[in-house]
Symmetry: C2
Subunit: 331 residues, 2 copies
């Protein structure tokens, strides 16, 4: 018996999407076969934004569908890429002659299936792909591997590109914008307890008391190293320090921050982490221009968090502040 509130593990994604449709009928519509989610009221006069990937990271991406963010999200099974045919069907449903931007986290399966979908689409449809690869704990593509994983920075890409699309910018402009957001953002994560996939009864890896896994991803894999747990005042600088260095934020700069719970992290912890992040940035002379905290890009029920920082520009801040109305983000 699975230690989760589900029915059969193989049905969890479908049943949860039915639940999503019940919860937010004014925002999203669930298309069952092939499986994807669109806005319940389509927008036909703008570039269409489509993202997707394995399930298990909810609210990402399905709950970022709505005004100011995505037009469609394409979920695979838990931790497994959607198929090219699902992605193609979603694009055909929401692309209305203004082009489609595919926002893809950097994993081999996702990149492959989104690329095949782009090739399968009629050449009359203009398509661009933005690949998000923000996870500092993984090696860059320079080293010959698949490159850095995509994690919570995808939220900043979807929010900022979504706002630009609502304002009528062209596909070329929005794709360029998305790549600039990716270049200016980075993420680092830590876990105190790993996740337990549906149908399993023990976490995907074990930590002893007093240990934390530093540099984890969002699929329950081991991180870069196991470290001793630390007070938030030490842990947050361990995460934010390398991120600040990577995005080359220096004294006088500002950042947009996402303090992201990995699934089972309590609001008290995320709020304490936010206070520590502000204090750390202040010590570096960096301004916390905007910050949100919540469980946005989860690894099922992992207990841990990630810190994503995006170096602010006036353009990014303006688009970040634009209205958004999705299941998971509304302002």
């Amino acid at each position: 018996m699975s230690n989760h509130i589900i029915n059969r593990p193989e049905d969890v994604v479908h049943e949860a999407l039915e639940g999503l449709g019940i919860l937010y009928p004014d925002i999203v519509a669930y298309h069952r076969d092939p499986r994807f989610v669109t806005r319940s009221v389509a927008s036909t006069d703008k570039v269409a934004l489509i993202s997707g990937g394995g399930a298990g990271h909810e609210p990402l991406h399905t709950e970022f569908v709505g005004t100011g963010m995505l037009d469609a999200a394409v979920p695979g099974a838990v931790f497994a890429s959607p198929t090219a045919l699902q992605i193609k069907a979603a694009v055909e449903n929401v692309e209305t002659g203004h082009g489609a931007l595919l926002i893809v986290k950097n994993y081999t399966g996702d990149k492959l299936n989104f690329s095949i979908a782009a090739e399968l689409l009629s050449p009359e449809r203009e398509v661009a792909i933005v690949v998000v690869d923000d996870d500092l704990s993984t090696a860059t593509a320079d080293s010959g591997g698949p490159g850095r994983r995509g994690t919570a920075a995808v939220l900043t890409v979807e929010k900022i590109c979504g706002a630009a699309a609502e304002r009528g910018r062209s596909l070329t402009e929005i794709a360029d914008l998305g790549r600039r957001v990716v270049s200016a953002s980075a993420t680092l994560s830590v876990a105190l307890r790993s996740c337990t996939p549906p149908g399993h009864s023990v976490p995907s890896f074990q930590l002893n008391e007093g240990e934390m896994e530093f540099g984890v991803g969002i699929h329950g894999e081991r991180g870069r190293e196991t470290r001793a747990t630390a007070a938030a005042s030490e842990l947050i600088p361990q995460l934010a320090g390398p991120v600040v260095a990577e995005i080359a934020a220096v004294e006088g700069d500002g950042v947009i921050a996402v303090v992201n719970g990995l699934g089972a992290t309590h609001g008290l912890e995320l709020a304490v982490a936010t206070a520590e992040l502000q204090s750390f940035l202040k010590s570096k002379g960096i301004t916390l221009d905007r910050v949100i905290a919540g469980s946005f890009v989860t690894a099922l029920d992992m207990h841990g968090l990630s810190i994503t920082l995006l170096r602010s520009t006036e353009e990014f801040l303006d688009l970040w502040d634009a209205p958004v109305h999705t299941a998971a983000l509304t302002w």
Copy 2:
């Protein structure tokens, strides 16, 4: 070392409230000594709504402060009532001559301290108290004990009374409304894993694989009985069945539902539970008029959920639908 992302356990509430102020400066203001949270822009032309109780249940109550819900929230330490002096100071800060409604979950400490605060206030301030006692797994006051615990129905009371206050209704009317919401609502909860209080390293009680604790509260105490885990399609009727009976909802009636994660429950699980709830209610001929799902009233990092149902009336639905803008609820 505590297995949480915090500093000293005794500082967690204060530091999290500092984080809350950083996250939502336009919505809430944190008053440090005595400790309470108010709207950042006070409303002076209406009845003031104040709630509070032990911390560890976030987003309750602090993240329900804002337009359309509370004027102030008064957090104690984790799982401990705030003091009467904190409550008195909060009321004095937000009550502006139109009266104050104190919304109190039914626990001995909370009732005592809110009552003392009401007595300590100047007799020129009109005060009413609504006690929320929705948890079906505890005995009613008829049996001589303290009566049923207050759990997630407090969200429906705060939302509906908050909307009535914005519309200028009198204290007497709003207190009566709140009591009618309490009478028409009930809650039942289940846990698959208990919570681990800050500074502790093991959960407050242990379950074996294949067991769930039925009828838990929100303080990590054991529930009414230990049962075998069940698929969501069996579990949700186990929870919703007694709740439907208690609120005397019958074929042709409608309900407002809160599918509430107890802290570490994943969005996939809450969405599956929502789909199962709709299906169960449909089998009884009851309409799911409104439903929200999320971690609203938590027991720290407990893995489990509660189902709260409020039997709909036109008045309740109208006030439920009214705009709300708080850290945790916005529509």
